[in-house]
């Protein structure tokens, strides 16, 4: 972004022409981008069965107007910053508010009460399960990316390993969910170490590329090893988890009958919700404990400076492998939950978009903040869902308008805005793992992001 020059002591009148000029340049660029995305649309004429181009001038105008207004505000703020002395020094350094300690408990209580709310229906429960799954995956990946500073673009591979472990163990050995869950974690952790070994010496972009490839390799193997994984048909009839041996079925042995309740399919959903919530809380507990232990502290030191770590006697190989393994283990847990919930899995569920979404959740939430991950999962998953619901836009743009077609555009826009507003995520400061007198959080500007 072109930074306006530092025009000191300019009054607004003098500064205005150049501000407008820059805004118009931005507008021109925006209109070039918007022309193919907002303005033109290929339509199929149902009557003549031909293609024709639809011009959507309203969209285009609104998009351009928004950009222009935004840029003018930006210019004005920049001018203000350069000319009006700020009382910035009085602003507290730490962005922690007084409410910070209550956020976690309130969220937890809300999460526990959610299934019992009168407004909670199947749809809300479904979305909530999805959100909590992403929270768990986010917390798992946060160990690797946020704490150890190792950029992993193939995290979904471990999710897949967990899911297929459960599905295959259940199919071939008839194991139940509760036996498969730890096994899936162990398998995923093993794969974490297998990925970790070849990438030990890689950093930054190179590490990212290899992990990306690793994620793809796992997916392609799942796709092509038909005899074992079912290929693109996937695996179906995966047994669903039971409530300590009591299935959620309609019969006399079912959950509802046993507890004298009326049968409802929501009971199974509620159970799945609490199951993933418990798994997520386990992830939270273990990873926040680990962070305060020597192992977690070593991960963070590795992110800050690997060479210094080695000079202090840290075995950086073990440190990296432990981060990969433990991060992967949580991915594996989440994966076996996913398989149990869906009862059907196929390689399609484990594509790169999934890795990218989880990574975006971590980055958006703040690399070292677990609460941040909760907010960003709600924003990402909830936001994408909310964009499906924008039916009211039809009232504005006419009945032909399909809001979901612009979903990704809105989504990208929101991401850009959030990253401009909070470049280091929602919660960017870091809470020390140990303190002598007073726990002072460390500002984001001092924290290294890790180059690998």
């Amino acid at each position: 972004m072109a930074q306006p020059q530092n025009n000191h002591a300019q009054n607004l009148g003098q500064a205005l022409p150049s501000m407008i000029k820059r805004s118009l340049i931005v507008l021109a660029i925006a209109s070039i981008i918007f022309a193919p995305t907002l303005l033109l649309r290929l339509q199929v004429s149902k009557i003549e069965n031909t293609l024709f181009i639809q011009y959507r001038w309203v969209f285009f105008a609104i998009g351009c107007a928004l950009i222009l207004v935004w840029r003018l505000i930006y210019e004005f703020r920049a001018w203000q910053r350069a000319n009006v002395p700020l009382k910035a020094s009085s602003r507290p350094q730490s962005q922690e508010s007084r409410f910070a300690p209550y956020v976690g408990p309130v969220l937890l209580i809300a999460a526990i009460l959610l299934p019992f709310m009168p407004f909670t229906d199947r749809y809300i429960l479904d979305i909530s399960i999805l959100i909590v799954t992403y929270v768990m995956l986010g917390w798992g990946l946060q160990i690797v990316v946020g704490l150890a500073g190792l950029l992993d673009l193939g995290y979904v591979a471990f999710y897949a390993v967990g899911a297929y472990s459960y599905a295959l163990l259940a199919e071939h050995f008839g194991f139940g969910f509760w036996i498969c869950l730890p096994l899936a974690g162990v398998f995923a952790a093993t794969w974490g170490v297998i990925l970790g070994f070849p990438v030990l010496r890689l950093r930054g972009d190179y590490l990212a590329i290899v992990t990306l490839a690793f994620g793809e390799i796992i997916r392609v193997v799942l796709l092509n090893w038909r005899d074992f994984t079912g290929g693109s048909n996937g695996l179906s009839n995966i047994p669903r988890p039971s409530f300590f041996g009591i299935p959620f079925s309609q019969g006399p042995d079912g959950f509802a009958a046993t507890f004298g309740l009326e049968y409802s399919s929501l009971q199974r959903m509620g159970f799945l919700y609490f199951l993933i919530l418990a798994l997520a809380l386990l992830t939270f507990y273990i990873s926040s404990r680990l962070r305060k232990l020597p192992m977690g502290r070593a991960w963070e030191a590795l992110r800050e400076d690997e060479i210094a770590c080695r000079s202090l006697g840290l075995n950086t190989i073990n440190t990296k492998l432990s981060a990969f393994a433990i991060g992967a283990m949580f991915g594996g847990f989440a994966g076996s939950f996913f398989a149990a919930k869906q009862a059907f899995i196929s390689p399609e569920s484990f594509n790169f978009m999934e890795s990218a979404t989880i990574l975006a959740i971590v980055v958006l939430g703040g690399m070292s903040s677990q609460i941040g991950v909760v907010f960003s999962s709600i924003a990402m998953v909830g936001g994408i869902e909310a964009l499906r619901q924008l039916q009211f836009l039809k009232a504005i743009f006419g009945p032909d308008f399909d809001p979901s077609s612009l979903r990704l555009l809105f989504f990208g826009l929101a991401m850009v805005i959030v990253m401009l507003w909070r470049p280091r995520g929602f919660v960017s400061s870091r809470v020390p793992t140990v303190f002598f007198r007073e726990k002072k959080s460390v500002g984001s500007s001092m924290i290294s992001q890790g180059r690998g």
């Binding site: 232990l293 963070e300 060479i307 080695r310 000079s311 001092m446």
Partner: protein
């Protein structure tokens, strides 16, 4: 005479065609401060990197004699093992602190291996067993004792990157000391310090030698510091040793004066 703490023999380090260190031999006696001096690019840092395992030397041997743990051939050991097992600690020419971590956390990382054992590789730690909590408390106490000695105990909970430069240098030194070394290698510890801070540093280093019985190997350009505190000086020029002896001897060595002042042949 007792066995030297460190015996470097014919140390050679080549980078492609460049011979950065050429058949360099010297000794560091226990209880001494030994300084390596020499013009820029002489190969001092390279020699340090060989001793501490960051480079694998092209030739020569580096023997460390630990009074209780025995003898080690450092040229065959990995860098982290040199710190952990042979107990050789080092600092860096450009400070390498964990900037986003607090001062105290920096010192806790130095005690990682003991703490890791105490936490039973995290198992005891996750369940919060008292044995681990005790070990952690001791580690904090040890860190605080060092911080008091360099006068920054009040900054224990500040981010390391927020410290003034002089204090960062000192923190890096005590971070190395927290690994309980027998030999401490300091790469230009006085660089960027003002004269008062340099003097304090000299006092501190002597204290470490005399009270804590840690041998010190020091690279330094600040001659007032070097001449003041060193027991022994080794001079390096273009990777070769050109002089070796007491400060008085080295100061008057014609070869040293020539290397530093660039007198014509």
């Amino acid at each position: 005479m007792t066995k030297p703490l460190l015996t470097v023999k014919d140390l050679t380090m080549r980078f492609g065609g460049l011979v950065a260190v050429d058949k360099f031999s010297f000794e560091v006696q226990a209880g001494h401060i030994t300084a390596i001096i020499g013009p820029n690019g002489a190969g001092k840092t390279t020699a340090f990197n060989c001793i501490t395992g960051f480079y694998k030397p092209s030739g020569g041997s580096i023997a460390l004699h630990h009074p209780s743990r025995g003898d080690f051939s450092l040229e065959t050991m990995e860098d982290h093992k040199i710190s952990r097992i042979a107990k050789v600690a080092r600092t860096f020419q450009n400070i390498r602190l964990f900037g986003g971590m607090t001062v105290l956390e920096n010192l806790m990382i130095s005690q990682h291996n003991e703490l890791m054992r105490a936490s039973m590789f995290s198992i005891a730690g996750i369940f919060g067993l008292p044995s681990y909590r005790r070990a952690e408390k001791e580690a904090i106490e040890k860190s605080m004792a060092w911080l008091k000695r360099i006068g920054i105990a009040d900054k224990a909970d500040d981010a390391a990157a927020a410290l003034p430069y002089g204090q960062q240098r000192k923190l890096e030194i005590v971070r190395a000391l927290c690994t309980d070394p027998v030999l401490l290698c300091l790469d230009e510890p006085a660089a960027g310090l003002n004269p008062k801070e340099s003097d304090d540093l000299g006092v501190f280093l002597r204290e470490i030698r005399d009270k804590d019985h840690v041998g010190i190997l020091l690279i330094e350009h600040d001659m007032s510091v070097v001449m003041e505190i060193s027991d022994h000086i080794v001079v390096l020029d273009y990777g070769r040793k050109i002089s070796d002896g007491t400060p008085a001897l080295v100061r008057n060595d014609a070869a040293v004066i020539k290397a530093y002042l660039g007198v014509d042949e």
